[in-house]
Amino acid sequence: MKILVPISNVPDTTSKISFANNDTEFNKSGITFILNPYDEWYALVRAMELKESGKAEKVTLIHVGLADSEPTIRKGFALGADDGVRIDGEGDAYFVAEQVSNYAKENGYDLIMAGKETINYNGSSVGALIAGFLDYPFVSLATKLDVEGTTATLEQDIDGGTQIVEAQLPLVISCAKGMAEQRIPNMKGIMAARTKPLTIVAAGQNNNFTNVKSFALSAGRTTCKMIDENNMDELVQLLHTEAKVI
């Protein structure tokens, strides 16, 4: 079994977010970029487990982005991926999914494991779009995955419980919390990372169907208000007038 893990390069969760060019662009300066946690902790780590248990022979990373995201690909190598592909271009989810699918079509993968979403735009659409382009079955938000032969067994959270589904390879899935445990890359992996092959492929046709017009920050959480324990009236008053819940 050959596994393809599409990964994305996202700002660290502690980053201070700001915008440039009249709020039309994300301001990258001073931002540390990381491997999207859903791609890393769940998709890639589970893929590595499948490889370590002998069920997969190869795990390949694929990223659609510019050269400055290569450190993130090497982080994936440090975690154990065998090789990687960077498709040199940028665009919306449709564009990314189309590029990944074109590559996957030519190179043949049995299982494509995406994260359930990225932590920057939370679009949750790339996995499904890839499945659409490839005409493969798609299982979203999987919390467990096992593979026997060409059959994958997956678990998904549903309202109030879980459901177990079975699907045939080739298959695209999106991975959610529970799929695997976060791993810390070990020193050997880090040192091996620089020797792993990274292929750079020119992006194909530029099909971008969406355009960001502008960004704005949310108001954010307001500070906590402390009320004296003897002052129930004030509490009731505030719940009514400010919080508007009673």
Binding site: P71, R74, K75, A78, Q182, I184, P185, N186, M187, K188, I190, M191, A193, R194
Partner: protein, 593 residues
């Protein structure tokens, strides 16, 4: 990497080019990834269980060490052929820094990887290395180092533990008592120092717990690092095969000294790691804690502390990595000259033993300063065992005691410098004579140089003259009795420490400016100037005390005038500089340099 070869201790008489030093802004992607792995390990595996670690839950520390071993953290400086990563020395300093934030676990790891593993790695023969190192690097075996005894601490060569060859010549029989042995409670491998028959000097032995004849006292009750195992270890007719003698007979003291050189700079690295995290906690608390309706980080008294914590950390870090790269370069040069790697590593590091001792003192005292002010910033919560500063404060204190007390290290700084001068390895006499001549000559009134750093460089050059003036005077006046005048030696050591660290800080910022431009280094410039300003005043006080103690009359007056000239500064607004530093920290809500 340097274009010109640097020698240990030479900073006293030579100017260094900023481009020749390594600065932390030059870490590459791979090194930073390794640091991140260490940080993640501390965050995920150590910090959540600090109370359990400190209660010495049975088996917990060994299992943590095994986890660290799986990640390769115990074999960073071990060659790949022996199961390690084969990383270079500077990289191992960076991982040491990151793991240094691990409280008791940091002590256990560094005792294991440093004094526990390195004697075998650097002095062991092929069989010994093959047998022990891979299992130490993986964490399967845990190591400790048994040098100190109840009656032999700072005077380490005076140990009473004995080793006697058996009649058949196949074993040494060890008898004696060791004290304060880190990791003693669970170690499998003990490096033991003992004297064979009536030898004057110690020999070293690799002793397996399995050999028998080893017993342990209960855990010591300590002020801090409560989770680190510290035991008395008794050797009672302990039978050690002759092939487990490490290196040669009577070579033990030399092994101890050389391993300590490495231990000292590593301790400085670990202290930087602990200091950065403690500073970050101080900043976060100061930003959150409201008194008189404002966060306490708005108050100048608190800003002073936040800034000063950061200034000292930045300075200590600058000096530590400068020296680390100097060691690295020296090692490579020796290897290129045909020396075998283990030997080259020891020799290369030994060349910078003066710097290692300086860094040990400065790093441990910076950590203590940061911890102490951290407690103060937390106020009552600083005194609460529920809040983090309590543990930081207690755990930091040991660093001024082990790996040679800071007094012993200060004595060593001056002793090593003078010995090198005596041997002709370091030309102090020429420059000292020049300073003496300058004193009686007419002061030069050259045009002020307004270029960036010219003024600060002149100050640093003057600090060196102040040292030469004071030390030169002390040698001349006190002659051989100088070694007994410890107060004067402490003065000179402090002058050397401040000078080396101030210079390193300036060189780092100069190199940063050349990389990023002056505009984006405004805060770092404030840090460097602020450090140099304080260093200058300290050097004046230390020098004055020394001179007043051994010179008199006109000669004293003349020397004091000289010292004053060498520590003269233009007015400097330290308050404004600290405000600049504090504001950056407060805005970032963490130690951010």
């Amino acid at each position: 990497m340097s274009t010109t070869k640097t020698k240990g201790g030479e900073f006293l008489i030579k100017e260094t080019n900023a481009q020749d030093i390594f600065i932390p802004e030059q870490w590459n992607e791979e090194q930073l990834m390794m640091k991140k792995t260490c940080d993640d390990f501390i965050d995920q595996e150590v910090l959540p269980i600090l109370d359990r670690i400190d209660s010495q839950e049975v088996g917990l520390m060994p299992s943590l060490m095994e986890k660290a071993g799986e990640l390769g953290l115990l074999g960073v400086s071990v060659p790949e052929a022996l199961g390690g990563m084969g990383a270079d020395f500077v990289t191992s300093m960076l991982t040491t820094e990151a793991l240094g934030a691990g409280y008791s676990a940091a002590v256990a790891f560094s005792a294991h990887t440093g004094i526990g593993t390195l004697p075998i790695l650097y002095y062991g023969n092929e069989e010994q290395k093959k047998k022990y190192i891979p299992k130490l690097a993986s964490g399967e075996w845990k190591a400790c180092y048994c040098l100190t005894e109840p009656s032999s601490g700072s005077d380490a060569n005076s140990g009473k533990t004995t080793a006697k060859l058996t009649a058949d010549g196949k074993h040494y029989i060890l008898n004696g008592q060791k004290m304060w042995i880190t990791n003693g409670g669970f170690a499998d491998i003990f490096t033991v120092f003992a004297k064979i028959d009536d030898d004057k000097n110690l020999s070293a032995f690799i002793v397996e717990k399995e050999f028998g004849g080893i017993s342990l006292n209960p855990e010591e009750h300590k002020m801090g690092i409560k989770g680190s195992s510290t035991r008395q270890v008794f050797f009672n007719e302990c039978k050690v095969p002759v092939e487990n003698l490490l290196s040669e007979r009577e070579n033990g003291f030399k092994i101890a000294v050389n391993i300590l050189n490495i231990g000292r700079i590593k301790l400085a690295g670990a202290a930087i790691g602990g200091s950065k995290r403690a500073a970050t906690q101080s900043i976060k608390y100061a930003n959150e804690r409201i008194q008189f309706e404002r966060p306490i980080s708005k108050y100048g008294a608190i800003r002073y502390k936040l800034a000063e914590q950061a200034i000292r950390i930045f300075a200590s870090e600058s000096a530590t990595y400068r020296a680390s790269q100097n060691m690295e370069d020296a090692i490579h040069e020796l290897i290129a000259g045909g020396m075998e790697k283990a030997k080259a590593t020891l020799k290369g590091i030994e060349q910078f033993a003066v710097e290692a001792a300086i860094l040990k003192v400065h790093g441990s005292e910076t950590l203590d300063y940061v911890a102490d002010e951290g407690v103060q910033i937390y106020g009552g919560m600083g005194y609460s065992a529920e809040a983090p500063m309590d543990r930081i404060y207690r755990d930091s204190r040991i660093n001024r005691i082990f790996e040679g007390t800071n007094e012993i290290n200060r004595l060593l700084i001056v002793d090593m410098i003078l010995k090198r001068a005596m041997k002709g390895e370091l030309d102090l006499m020429g420059p000292a004579q020049k300073v003496a001549n300058e004193l009686v000559g007419i002061p030069e009134f050259s045009e002020p140089d307004d270029t960036l750093f010219a003024y600060e460089k002149k100050l640093i050059a003057n600090f060196k003259k102040a040292i030469l003036l004071t030390a030169g005077g002390a040698v001349q006046k006190l002659m051989t009795s100088l070694s007994k005048e410890q107060e004067v030696i402490m003065n000179i050591a402090n002058m050397a420490i401040e000078t080396y660290v101030a210079e390193s800080t300036l060189l780092r910022v100069e190199k940063m400016v050349s990389m990023k431009g002056e505009a984006s280094c405004e805060v770092q410039l404030a840090i460097a100037r602020s450090y140099i300003n304080s260093a200058c005043d300290k050097i004046w006080i230390e020098g004055k005390e020394a001179l007043n103690s051994f010179a008199e009359g006109d000669e004293l007056r003349m020397m004091l005038i000289g010292l004053k000239r060498y520590t003269k500064q233009e007015p400097f607004n330290a308050k404004a500089a600290r405000q600049t530093v504090a504001q950056a920290l407060i805005a970032e809500n963490k130690y951010c340099f």
